[in-house]
Structure formats: structure tokens, C-alpha cells
């Protein structure tokens, strides 16, 4: 049995006023349930046991309190205990919020975002702390016709650990465009659950995960087509270096009444070093008959033809490789619509990929 | 041969045909022209028995039988052939297998003897040659990976093999270059006889240079708004559809 007492001690170190009954209940729920076992299909490739042996300094529950807490599985409970409450935000009907929503960089965050009918917004969930364990949970609901551009970034240092979970619910004709980028961290697990609850809803997911060192990144996405005429597009790209491990699991479930579903999922992976590893599983569960669903997954080397073409134009092989690897990853970053964020992530990506110093000149 | 009276049809709650009257006698060639969305394709598919349409009023009789009572394969056996605007791909089923199954199914319903493999092969090869097609296409999947032009040519080949009585050709000329258009037109003309009739559904006058119609009808808003001889097609080509629609 895993010793979870560091989590209890960290909690009990909070000021007494912050140790509310709600939070304690959540903490107890977590301590009772413990971390999910790797026997579970959903956790087959990711073992959270390492979190129990983090140094005490890494466990920093929030002292500040917000409103009510949520109820769910063990990880949800852990977040509820450590985040100390929910930050709520509502975008009024038919308005566009120009300023992107950027919650402060706390270690433990819990958000509830509500986009009313026909509203528009952009939200950035960022984790960039180092040496800290973070949990970020968000429930986001889009009413009819609402539009959201959601960016989840993780460019934290090599020694960070995090669990994030985003639940999205889309009503009629709502549209959400999500970009997730993982460029750092030792252990990250991200759940992204999408409910296409009413006809005409559309979700676009673009993800890049590029773990290095002994990093481990696990992305689990789940798209539930519950209503007819919904669209989902998903594209994830993985690049693993050194001894890093990438995990991708993408489930698409088309429920009985979701006729005319149009769904496509593309996963592409590059493994750059011996010792690196990627495990990918695109899943389809289909219970409706009038649907168009396709998924594809590839693993492979860079395109030899393209490599040859670049070299025939005079680029050294290492530069040509770097360039192709770069374009492979950059394809995802292009979908970030905020220029400053895209620029920052692009720079960070350049630092991360091999031989990219040779590319700086080409930029 | 074909007698359509006061035909009304709708799809997904939308009225497409709103009272069509059309008689086609044996040996006649009719052309139906009209702007996009006028109901041309609906009429063609409906004649072949497509089940997406609901007939709300009117009658269609073919050789004295109530056509609307028959399912698509029964209509085919009776001699109705629809040349599709967008021919369908059936992967893995070769043209040869498909044609043989179709021909023999029709012959069976008509109480005729089914063709054996050798006779069938000879017959198909003869037709393939007439359409100037590569016999190798027979072992490829039905329309699988065919270009738009190849698909249209394949439609005419099927027509030559099956020898129907009434040929309904839905925009068979679209997407063809001039050489292919001539081959397709030759195929249609080859089939013309005193017993057979043709209904050409088209947007352009081009095909009518090669297949001379006896009658031309203009379809607009789900109704035939004007009928005339071949000169009507030329007039339409010159003036467009605007004046007809206004007149209607």
C-alpha cells in the first residue's frame, strides 16, 4: 500500500482557517481511494505512485479559499482538497470577451467557465512551475452557438509533476477549438473529456507532446458524440527523445442517437532516440449506423524524399532533419491563435528539439 | 410508353416536384433542361425508384403498368435504365460480376434464359469495344478509382449491355471532354430504335448536338414550364434560363 501521508501532512500544514470541512472531506476521499492502479485500462501506461515520494516542498496546497468544491474520483478529490475551491466565470450571452482568460499560475486550480448563448472567449490554462506538483481541473460549458478557443500549455521545467482534467460540454452548434502543448515535466497526465451534447456541435483538438529526458506525458482524450450531426476533428503529434515516454489514448464514442456523426482522428509520432517510447491507442466505439468515422495512426521516420530534397538544395543532413522535425511539430502550434503565446511556445519548442540552433538562421 | 401525370414529390419536407405532366412515346427522344435545383435529378431518380422521395400526388405508368408500385429492380427488369449523375463506387465487386448479376437477374424476372459465362463474356466484350474502353476495366471494381469521365462511359456501357427500353440519362454529359462526349453520344445513338425511348436530363445544350431530341422541355420550380422542338434548346443556350423563369 502506497504511503499517502505526505499529502495529509501538506494539508495539515495549512492555516487552520483554510482546513475547512469540505476540503478535509475531499482529502479523506482521496486518501481512502488512493491513486488509480495501472491494472485499470485507463492507467495502463501511467503510474502515479512516484507522486507519493515527492519532496515535501513540492506539495503546496492553496491557502486561499474560493467557493464550493466538486465531487468525483480520487484525483478530483485531491484537486478539490488542494485547490480550495472553484473559480467561476460566466461570459454573458452574445458578447465577445476580447481579453483572453488567463488564470493566475497557482499550483492547484479549479475552474468553472460558462459561455452563454452565442458568446465567444479565449482561455489559456498554463502550468510552468518547476519542482512543484500541480493539479488543474476545469469544467467548461458552451451554450448554443458559443465559441471557445482553449489553450492548455505545459512548458514547465524538467522536474515538475502535474495532473490536469478538462471537461467540456457543447450545446447546439457550439464550437470549441483546443490546442494542447506539452514540452516539459517529469510526469504529466492530461484528461480531456468532450461531450458533444446537442446537434451541430463541433470540436477541434490539436495536440503536441514532446517529452524529453526521463519525462512521461500521458494524454487521454475522450469525445462523446451524443447527438446527431456533430463534428469532431482530432490531431495529435508526439515526439519522444532520450528516455522519454509518450502515451496517447484517444477514445471516440458515437452513441446510438448520434446519426450523421462526422469524426476524424489522426495521430502521428516520431521517436528520436533509442530508449524513447510511445504508446498510442486511437479507439472507436460506434453504436449508430449512419456515421462517417475514420482514424489513423502512424509511427515513423522523417520522410526520406523530403530529406533528400532539402539536402539536394544544400542543407546539411542534420539541419534538414531538424527542419523536418520542426515542421512536424509546428503544424500543431499554428493553431494557437494568440500571437504572443504562439511565439513563446515556438521559441521553447526550438530549444527543445535537436539541432534547432541551426534553424534559428532560417527563421 | 411513359406517362407521367400531375406528379408531386417531396424530400425531407420540401416539395421538389409540383405537378409534372410528361408523355414519352416509343422511339422518341426527349430532353429535359433546366437550371440547378429545378428538380431534374429528382425526376430521374424517382423514375428509377429511389426511396428517399415521397410521392404526394399524381401517377406514373410505364407500358401500362403502375410504375410507382414497383421497386427499383422490378423497374430495371421492365426496361428502365437510369444513367446516374454521380455513378456509385462498389469496391471489391468487379464490373464483370456486377454486369452479369444484373443482366441475369433481369432476364430471370422476365422469364428469359440466363446467359452462361462464355456467351456473356462475348456479349460484354463486344459492347466494351463499341465504347472504346479497355477490356481490363472489366476486372476492376465497379467505378472504383474511375475518373469522372470513365464513370460516365461505364454508365453507357452498362446501358449497352442491359439493353433497356427507356433510358433516363441524368447529366451524362457533364464532366466529359469532347472526345468522350462523342463516344457517349455514339453509344446513345446506337441504342435508338423504334421500340426504345430516351430521356436526356441536362443543363447544357452540348449533348443535344450529337443526340438530336424530338422534344425539349424546360423544368423550373418543379414544373415543366415550356415545351418545344430542338430549337428550344438552342434558344436556351443563347438566352440562359432567366427569361423562362420570369415567364413562369
Amino acid at each position: 500500500m502506497l504511503d499517502l501521508s505526505p499529502f495529509r501532512r501538506a494539508f495539515e500544514a495549512l492555516p487552520a482557517a483554510a482546513q475547512t470541512g469540505e476540503r478535509r472531506k475531499a482529502l479523506d476521499a482521496f486518501l481512502t481511494a488512493g491513486f488509480p492502479s495501472t491494472d485499470l485500462e485507463e492507467w495502463k501506461y501511467t503510474n502515479l505512485a512516484a507522486l507519493a515520494s515527492l519532496p515535501e516542498a513540492a506539495l503546496q496546497p492553496e491557502a486561499e479559499l474560493a467557493s464550493a468544491t466538486g465531487h468525483g474520483d480520487a484525483l478530483d478529490a485531491l484537486n478539490a482538497a488542494f485547490a480550495g475551491g472553484v473559480t467561476e466565470l460566466r461570459i454573458p450571452s452574445k458578447t465577445r470577451r476580447e481579453e483572453p482568460i488567463r488564470p493566475s499560475d497557482r499550483a492547484h486550480q479549479r475552474h468553472r467557465l460558462y459561455l452563454e448563448r452565442g458568446s465567444e472567449a479565449t482561455m489559456i490554462l498554463n502550468s510552468s512551475g518547476d519542482g512543484v506538483f500541480e493539479t488543474i481541473f476545469a469544467d467548461i460549458e458552451l451554450e448554443a452557438g458559443a465559441q471557445l478557443h482553449l489553450i492548455r500549455l505545459n512548458d514547465a521545467g524538467a522536474d515538475s509533476h502535474r495532473i490536469t482534467r478538462i471537461n467540456l460540454r457543447l450545446s447546439r452548434d457550439a464550437c470549441c477549438d483546443v490546442v494542447t502543448v506539452d514540452l516539459g515535466g517529469r510526469l504529466s497526465r492530461h484528461d480531456l473529456n468532450v461531450d458533444l451534447a446537442e446537434p451541430g456541435a463541433a470540436i477541434h483538438l490539436h495536440g503536441l507532446y514532446a517529452p524529453t529526458g526521463d519525462g512521461h506525458v500521458d494524454n487521454h482524450t475522450r469525445i462523446e458524440h451524443r447527438a446527431p450531426h456533430c463534428i469532431s476533428r482530432e490531431q495529435y503529434r508526439g515526439i519522444a527523445r532520450d528516455k522519454a515516454r509518450g502515451v496517447f489514448n484517444g477514445m471516440i464514442r458515437v452513441h446510438k442517437d448520434a446519426q450523421k456523426t462526422d469524426s476524424e482522428q489522426r495521430i502521428a509520432n516520431l521517436i528520436l532516440s533509442p530508449g524513447a517510447e510511445i504508446n498510442a491507442k486511437p479507439e472507436l466505439e460506434i453504436y449508430a449506423d449512419d456515421v462517417k468515422c475514420a482514424h489513423g495512426a502512424t509511427f515513423g521516420q522523417l520522410d526520406d524524399e523530403a530529406l533528400f530534397y532539402l539536402r539536394s538544395r544544400g542543407l546539411p543532413e542534420s539541419t534538414a532533419r531538424a527542419l523536418l522535425t520542426w515542421t512536424f511539430a509546428h503544424e500543431v502550434l499554428q493553431h494557437i491563435r494568440l500571437e504572443d503565446v504562439r511565439g513563446r511556445v515556438t521559441k521553447r519548442l526550438l530549444r527543445q528539439l535537436p539541432n534547432t540552433e541551426q534553424l534559428e538562421a532560417l527563421q | 410508353m411513359l406517362d407521367i401525370q400531375n406528379l408531386h414529390a417531396r424530400i425531407e419536407g420540401k416539395d421538389i416536384l409540383q405537378g409534372i405532366d410528361l408523355r414519352i412515346g416509343a422511339g422518341e427522344v426527349h430532353a429535359i433542361m433546366g437550371p440547378n435545383g429545378s428538380g431534374k435529378s429528382t425526376l430521374s431518380k424517382l423514375l428509377a425508384g429511389h426511396e428517399d422521395y415521397t410521392i404526394t400526388d399524381g401517377t406514373v405508368s410505364f407500358d401500362g403498368a403502375d410504375l410507382l408500385e414497383l421497386n427499383p429492380e422490378e423497374r430495371a427488369a421492365k426496361g428502365i435504365f437510369l444513367g446516374f449523375q454521380y455513378p456509385v463506387e462498389i469496391p471489391g465487386v468487379s464490373n464483370m460480376v456486377f454486369l452479369k448479376a444484373a443482366l441475369n437477374a433481369q432476364r430471370k424476372i422476365r422469364g428469359e434464359k440466363e446467359l452462361d459465362a462464355a456467351d456473356f463474356l462475348a456479349w460484354v466484350k463486344h459492347r466494351v469495344k463499341q465504347m472504346q474502353m479497355n477490356p481490363a476495366m472489366l476486372s476492376r471494381g465497379v467505378n472504383e478509382g474511375f475518373s469522372g469521365g470513365e464513370k460516365k462511359r461505364n454508365e453507357i456501357l452498362q446501358m449497352l449491355v442491359l439493353e433497356p427500353k427507356l433510358m433516363v440519362l441524368d447529366e451524362t454529359d457533364s464532366g466529359l471532354d469532347i472526345d468522350a462526349l462523342k463516344i457517349v453520344a455514339d453509344g446513345i445513338n446506337l441504342m435508338r430504335s423504334k421500340e426504345r425511348s430516351v430521356l436526356l436530363v441536362t443543363h447544357y445544350q452540348r449533348l443535344l448536338d450529337y443526340v438530336k431530341p424530338d422534344y425539349v422541355h424546360v423544368l423550373a420550380g418543379g414544373r415543366i414550364v415550356k415545351s418545344g422542338g430542338p430549337e428550344l434548346a438552342l434558344e436556351l443556350e443563347e438566352k440562359g434560363y432567366g427569361w423562362i423563369q420570369q415567364a413562369a
Partner: protein, 487 residues
């Protein structure tokens, strides 16, 4: 919706199972139940050597500690393993027949009904190419044809019981080396109580002169069939093996838990084809076979090749993943599958390709068809280990849905640990095209024939991998299975 979909569903509804008759044979059957005494009884009845009894007992003891796998996308009532009889043999077999002439005529009649001629002269009289046949009826093999001709080539083809008696050293050397006795719940059960099955040995450099084939039939009530097949292809040899399966129509579920092990040494090639038509249960899901099978091939030598082709139309529940361990450098694994589920049938099937050797290649083509209330899942694993430089995999899995009450699911696992590996996976799901149906019908083809034509076209990539006679049989089987699906 148009009436078309309803019609198609009606077509699928009234399927008839032509192999559903029962043969009235006097059988000797062990009472239901499983314990060490039963394991010993089976072993004793088969006069097995001590080491094999030990193998069985080890497996049994391991099995007791194991639990049924629950991860498959199938649902069925709990199985009472104590209600199953683990051994049933026709009585007339007690003094094992020396040749087919001594086989009970009723059995020969059974196989004749199934369209499998057992007498060599009958086969010779036919126009079909020669196929050597082993036949397993409930728990025992009832006869193998063409032995002499095969023996001349050095090929051993007999029941596994006979192989234990006649070639114990070969059986001992290879049995359980591909599927260990504790591999999984059903494999452990099989290792404890397996009764019969086929044994094939192709010596070095020999190309087996004819197709080898085994027909399995469950006849007796309340029995399970636990066959065990072992095929060994020595260096540079080649063999093509076919198996067919049927069972009578009964209201209760019957258990079939087989283990098949293939070993291909350097440059050897094994082609293994299955047409599985166990009784699927009726349209309400009453009765039918639970088909829980472990099939695995070991490409042990360099440049060896193992190819699985399966056409799965029967069984109430199927749990089956014919797999390849690509150990030898440059070895090749293939899996071609057509699985059809309708009424209340459920199938969770696919393959595992484990790339260990350098430049190993695998190809997976899976075609799933779901109709009625059928549930269909493809589950596959492609694993590339760090040493598998230059490994390649291509996977294509397509699903076709007929009607709106069925389901089709895809669970492809990829675990890649080598930078030079190249994999491509494509999956599509679509319903049978109404435009395709209308097109075919407008040319005069009846709806039922059009459905069967389109489905056969969908499966063509797999059928072309089957030996000719089987391909014809498989196509017919699909058509029969879809009979009555449009009204």
C-alpha cells in the same frame, strides 16, 4: 429514414443455420465437473506419459488461481465450469479405429452432411484438389486421411493424442512453448483438460504436398470442446492448414476453449486458415457457442513467415486473437480477418504482432460486419521492442454496419520502442451504402443479392488470402448469413 434500412434489417433477421443437426451417437462422457481427478482421468484415458499429466496438473493448479478476463467488449452470463463435461467420445471409438473403414458409419454420415467427404476414394473421385483431413468429433479425433501419401513426404499429420503416443519427443519439445500453460485463463483451462486436436510436423526442406485440414464438431450436450493443435514447420518447410468448425443447434451455451500453437523455424512458412461457423445462437441470443480461443504463432527462425486468415461467422461470443511473435530477423506475420456478427452475436477479435527481430514485418487487415443487434470489436496490439530495428507494420481495419441496433468498435494498441520503426494504421467505419444499394438495384439486382454482393466486395482483401475452396465456402457462408436481411 427510408424503408431501405428496415428492409436490410429484415434481410439479416431470418438466418438459418444449416449445420445445426444432432447426430445420434452412443457416447462415453465424463460427468460434469472439474477437479484434479478429472484431469487425471482424462490423462489416464488417453494413456499419457507422466510428464504430460504433470503439465496438465500444473496448468490446472495455475488456473484455479486465475480469473476470467473481463476487458473484452462482450457480455455473457457467468459460466459454471463445474457444469461442463470435460470429456466426451463416441463409444465406438473406444478401441481406436485403425483406419477410416472402422469408423462408425454414423460419424461418416455426419461429415457427409456437413459436406466433408472423409473417405479418400470419395475425395479422389471428386474434382476438388486433394486435401488431407483430420476430424475431431467432440473430444476425440475420428480419423485422418491421406496418411500414407503424407508419410512418404515425411510429413506427420495425426491427432495430438496419437502424436503423444507415437512422437512423444516432438510433442514434449514444442508443446506449451508458444502458449505457456499459464498464459491466460482459457489457455490454462485448455492445458489442463485438452482432449484432442491436430498435430502437424513438416520436416526440414519439405513442402507439404497437399493442404491439411481439420474439421471440428461439437455434438454432445453439455460438453466443452478443448482442442489443442500444434504445428511445427522445420527449416525451409512450407505448409497450408485449414480448419472448419460446426456444432448442433442447442438452447444452452457450450464452451469451446482451444489452444493453437505454431512454430516456424528458419525460412519456414505456415499458412493457417479458419472458417469458424460454430452455432451462433438464435435471433434472441438463446444458445450458441462461447468461443474463447488462444492462437499464437512463433516465427522462431530468421525469414520465417506465419499467416493467419480467419472467417468468423459463428459463435454467440468470440474472444480470439491469433498472434505472431516475430522473433527471427526478417520474419513476417500476417493477419487477415472477416468477422460477421448479427442477431445477438458478439465478437472481440483481432491480433497481436510482437516485433522482436530486426526488419520484421507485419500486416493486419480486418473487416468487421455488424448486423441486427450484433456487436463487433477489433482489438489489436502492435508492439515493437527496442531491438526490432527497421520493423514495419501496416494495419487496416474497416467496419461495416447494417442496421442501427448493432455496434462496431476498434481498439488498436501500439507500443513502440524503436526509433526506426514505421507503422501505419487506418480504420474506417461506415454503414452499408444506400446509394450503392440503389445503384445495384436500379440495374436489376435484387436487394438481398445486392447486400451480399457489397459485403463480399468489402471482404475481398481477406478472401483472396484463403485457399480457393475455402474462399468459395466463405463467400457462400457470408451470403447465407445475410439471408433474409431484406424483406
Amino acid at each position: 429514414m427510408s424503408t431501405n434500412q428496415e428492409d436490410i434489417q429484415a434481410l439479416v433477421r431470418n438466418r438459418t443455420y444449416s449445420a445445426g443437426f444432432v447426430t445420434d451417437v452412443d457416447s462415453e462422457t465424463l460427468p460434469p465437473g472439474l477437479n484434479e481427478d478429472v484431469v487425471r482421468a482424462i490423462s489416464a484415458r488417453k494413456q499419457e506419459p507422466e510428464w504430460l499429466l504433470e503439465f496438465r496438473l500444473k496448468a490446472y493448479r495455475r488456473w484455479l488461481k486465475m480469473t476470467e478476463p473481463k476487458w473484452a467488449h462482450v457480455h455473457y452470463p457467468p459460466i459454471d465450469y463445474q457444469a461442463v463435461s470435460y470429456y466426451s467420445a463416441p463409444k465406438s471409438m473406444k478401441d481406436a479405429p485403425k483406419s477410416l473403414d472402422e469408423v462408425d458409419p454414423k460419424l461418416l454420415e455426419t461429415y457427409k452432411k456437413l459436406g466433408i467427404p472423409l473417405r479418400e476414394q470419395e475425395m479422389l473421385a471428386g474434382v476438388q484438389p486433394q486435401v488431407a483431413v483430420d476430424v475431431v468429433f467432440d473430444s476425440v479425433s475420428v480419423g485422418t486421411t491421406f496418411r500414407k501419401k503424407l508419410a512418404e513426404a515425411g510429413v506427420i499429420f495425426c491427432s495430438i493424442s496419437e502424436a503423444v503416443r507415437e512422437h512423444p519427443e516432438l510433442v514434449r519439445k514444442y508443446l506449451g512453448t508458444v502458449v505457456p500453460f499459464g498464459d491466460n485463463f482459457y489457455a490454462a483451462l485448455n492445458s489442463a483438460v485438452f482432449t484432442d486436436g491436430s498435430f502437424v510436423f513438416i520436416p526440414k526442406g519439405v513442402r507439404c504436398p497437399m493442404e491439411l485440414s481439420t474439421y471440428f464438431r461439437i455434438n454432445e450436450r453439455n460438453t466443452g470442446q478443448f482442442e489443442r493443435t500444434l504445428i511445427i514447420a522445420e527449416e525451409s518447410s512450407h505448409v497450408s492448414y485449414l480448419e472448419g468448425c460446426t456444432a448442433p443447434q442447442r438452447d444452452e451455451n457450450q464452451l469451446h476453449a482451444a489452444v493453437v500453437e505454431l512454430v516456424a523455424l528458419d525460412d519456414a512458412e505456415i499458412k493457417y486458415s479458419t472458417v469458424q461457423n460454430w452455432y451462433p445462437g438464435d435471433e434472441n441470443g438463446v444458445g450458441g457457442i462461447f468461443n474463447f480461443v488462444t492462437k499464437r504463432g512463433d516465427c522462431r527462425g530468421p525469414r520465417s513467415k506465419i499467416s493467419w486468415t480467419q472467417v468468423e461467422t459463428g459463435s454467440a461470443v468470440t474472444w480470439k486473437y491469433p498472434s505472431c511473435i516475430l522473433r527471427g530477423d526478417d520474419s513476417v506475420g500476417e493477419f487477415y480477418s472477416v468477422a460477421l456478427t448479427h442477431h445477438r452475436q458478439q465478437a472481440d477479435t483481432g491480433t497481436k504482432m510482437i516485433h522482436i527481430g530486426k526488419r520484421t514485418k507485419s500486416t493486419i487487415v480486418s473487416k468487421g460486419i455488424a448486423a441486427g443487434h450484433g456487436q463487433q470489436a477489433y482489438r489489436g496490439l502492435v508492439r515493437v521492442l527496442p531491438g526490432a530495428e527497421g520493423a514495419r507494420n501496416y494495419t487496416q481495419c474497416d467496419s461495416l454496419l447494417i442496421g442501427d441496433k448493432c455496434g462496431a468498435h476498434t481498439f488498436p494498441y501500439t507500443e513502440i520502442r524503436n526509433p526506426s520503426a514505421i507503422l501505419e494504421h487506418e480504420a474506417t467505419t461506415s454503414k452499408i451504402g444506400e446509394d450503392q444499394l440503389f445503384y445495384a438495384r436500379s440495374r436489376g439486382i435484387a436487394e438481398e443479392d445486392a447486400v451480399s454482393m457489397i459485403v463480399n466486395g468489402f471482404c475481398k482483401d481477406v478472401f483472396k488470402e484463403l485457399p480457393m475452396e475455402f474462399a468459395v465456402e466463405a463467400q457462400k457462408l457470408l451470403s447465407v448469413s445475410l439471408e433474409g436481411s431484406v424483406g
